[in-house]
Symmetry: C2
Subunit: 177 residues, 2 copies
């Protein structure tokens, strides 16, 4: 199973592509950070993220997309940008007809480290080990996107497959207003 | 100038299409509420909103899109959904190559009623009068989307035109990662 994991952010959005099956070490395919400038127009920032994610989905042809769910623990301004980026991320998968699954930060941490309260360094160390990398991913925040993809692979894709059928049906059905 | 105004929401998203020039009564073209169910999968909800807005932009061919800017005065859960819907709304315009402008709620209220702290009933009454309607728009929350479109027409489109050039350039330029 090939999964594209997204750690949504408006200024820095992490993207990780991983292949694997539940319970075994996974294979790193690629990772990216999509950037935009905080002083840039919001329409341009969202359009850039949208185009970049659509390109990466087209390039890597994942079977599903996994996105970290936004929480409100940070300051409100940051959360709004993250929520907007997460909408673009979820849409990038849905528009390509792929199943999209969201995971909370603690679900992701628990999946890769065994602890839902693991620190950033621990997540990075486990991602490096689970993907059999010689060194941690650089930039470091790409590790989160890779962790999300690994989390999705290991938790299996049952929910994802049910949702894929629903998305396919919705796309066939046209628009409800 | 024909403007498509969007009052973003995940459960109910208001869309109003208005034609006019600054300072004169405007003409109502159409209004809609795009619905989705809170218990539905987030990917399906965002995809439905995305498809519906793209269809309405294609159908009405506005020259620009105006979106109400999200604020954090409400509860955090609502704000997250609204922020996600606003990203989809802004993208609907940007992806069609249109200039997209955002306005705060008080800018919209001030534009149509003269007061940035006007109540919902006052906004609805002014929208009804400014569009020369026999009765207030139904459902009532469509009035907000129409107010956003009127606000954009009356405030002129200078910023919008500058941004349109930037969007056109960004779409020509392909993807920066």
């Amino acid at each position: 199973m090939r999964v594209l994991g997204i750690d949504p952010g408006l200024t820095r959005c992490g993207v990780g592509v991983v292949e694997g099956v539940p319970g075994r070490p996974c294979k790193l395919i690629a990772y990216y950070i999509v950037h935009s400038q905080p002083d840039e127009d919001i329409a341009l920032r969202l359009l850039h993220l949208d185009t970049s994610l659509a390109d990466l989905v087209a390039e890597h042809k994942p079977e599903s997309v996994a996105v970290e769910r936004v929480f409100s623990q940070h300051n409100v301004r940051t959360v709004m940008g993250t929520a907007q980026a997460s909408a673009v991320a979820v849409l990038a998968g849905a528009r390509a007809g792929l199943p999209v699954q969201t995971y909370t930060p603690s679900e992701v941490k628990a999946a890769v480290t065994g602890s839902g309260t693991a620190g950033k360094a621990q997540v990075t160390a486990m991602v490096t080990r689970l993907l059999s990398l010689d060194a941690p991913p650089k930039p470091a925040d790409a590790a989160d996107a890779l962790a999300i993809a690994i989390c999705h692979i290991w938790r299996g894709g049952t929910r994802a497959r049910i949702q894929a059928a629903a998305i396919a049906a919705a796309r066939r059905g046209g628009v409800r207003r």
